[in-house]
Amino acid sequence: MQAGPVIFRDRKPDMKNGLSKGVFLCTVLLLWLISGCAASGPKGIYRAHYGVEPPESELATLDMGAAYEAVIDDRYYVSGGKYGSVKLPAGPHRIHWNTWFGVSVMVEPSGQAAFGIVSDISLEAGHTYRLCADRTTGHGYKAYHWIEDRTTGRIVYGEKKP
């Protein structure tokens, strides 16, 4: 008769320990999952010119902005994960850039929508340009892609989201 209550008192702390361990493990796992969302460190500057480096006064800067990758003049591959901006000689360039948006699976079964844009633009020395993208939401959503001259505030390619 005495053994029952003893076992009961022994088991209760065990159960609590098990629960605490479970909570602790879940918290650690959740933190580990969330840590993947944390901002990464500073990104590098890609120099898109071959041979002798042109003087800084002849270069334009292209901020990768919303693009996760870009191919410039079919010669340079720039990863948005690795480089935040590109220094390239002023003048006409063909920029093929890619963006993606996370969307509801009700809208796109894959849960994401990817876009490839080819922009023929002329860059001015000393100016900074930014690759921008935005979208409306829901069914029949519309994506907007544009390039903004941050030095003058003008849109030099595409249509900005109203």
Partner: protein
């Protein structure tokens, strides 16, 4: 009684943890790659030269909703634009960015334009709607024609969400024929074959062993092109 409740609570926590990870754990593995090289020695690309890449992507594997369900979608591991990706990957692994240009062109089926009468209808220039003058002016050096085939065979369609096992063997073959454009000469071909077993094992917690044969074959072909046509040591194509 108390012991049973304790066990149930512990199992509950384990299930909660497993559910958190359900479908999330991908184990990327490399495909088995075989390269069959039948290419003649080719002079390396000079600074400013252009490499044209064109060809035909594999059609998506045919499947119905039931197959997709019972194989946990393992046949869906398919990308649509391998040739475009190849052009990008060549630039990505080029250790001297800017040295040469890689242009992805679409093959024309209509033959040469009337003003390009000097091109034979079956020649590489006619196929790409080019003239000798364009080849010389634009420094077009090599054309790489790529033909892709993608196969997926089902081995174990025993998956009923969120439990079971599914397994498909994926195989990608990229056949690349290389042409010297100024001489209109066929230099030979590479064939890259990448194979792997895509496997899903699930008991709420999903482990997905995922060899991306298309990606692996594309990367290997890009590296071979950089070595053989540019005489350069390619960079590693690492994810950022």
């Amino acid at each position: 009684m108390q012991r049973r409740i304790g066990c149930k609570i512990q199992r509950g926590w384990i299930l909660v943890c497993l559910a958190l990870f359900a479908g999330c754990v991908h184990v990327p593995v490399s495909s088995d790659i075989v390269v069959n090289d039948e290419l003649q020695a080719a002079p390396p690309l000079e600074p400013g030269d252009v490499l044209l890449v064109y060809g035909k992507n594999a059609p998506p594997p045919v499947q119905n909703a039931a197959v997709t369900y019972f194989t946990a979608g393992c046949q869906v591991a398919y990308h649509g634009n391998t040739i475009g990706r190849l052009a990008k990957t060549i630039l990505k692994v080029n250790p001297q960015p800017g040295r040469f240009t890689v242009r992805y062109v679409k093959e024309t089926k209509k033959g040469p334009a009337p003003d390009r009468a000097e091109a034979r209808p079956d020649s590489i220039l006619a196929r790409l709607d080019l003239t000798k003058e364009m080849v010389s002016r634009d420094h077009l050096r090599y054309a790489v024609h790529v033909k892709e085939s993608f196969e997926a065979s089902i081995h174990a369609p025993l998956y009923v969400s969120p439990f079971g096992v599914a397994s498909c063997s994926n195989k990608t073959v990229l056949e690349a024929g290389v042409w010297n454009l100024p001489d209109e000469q066929f230099l030979g071909s590479f064939t890259v074959t990448a194979e792997g077993e895509y496997t899903v094992a699930a008991y709420i917690f999903h482990v997905i062993v995922f060899p991306d044969t298309q990606r692996d074959a594309t990367e290997r072909l890009a590296r071979e092109i950089v070595v053989r046509l540019a005489d350069l040591q390619p960079l590693e194509d690492k994810d950022d």
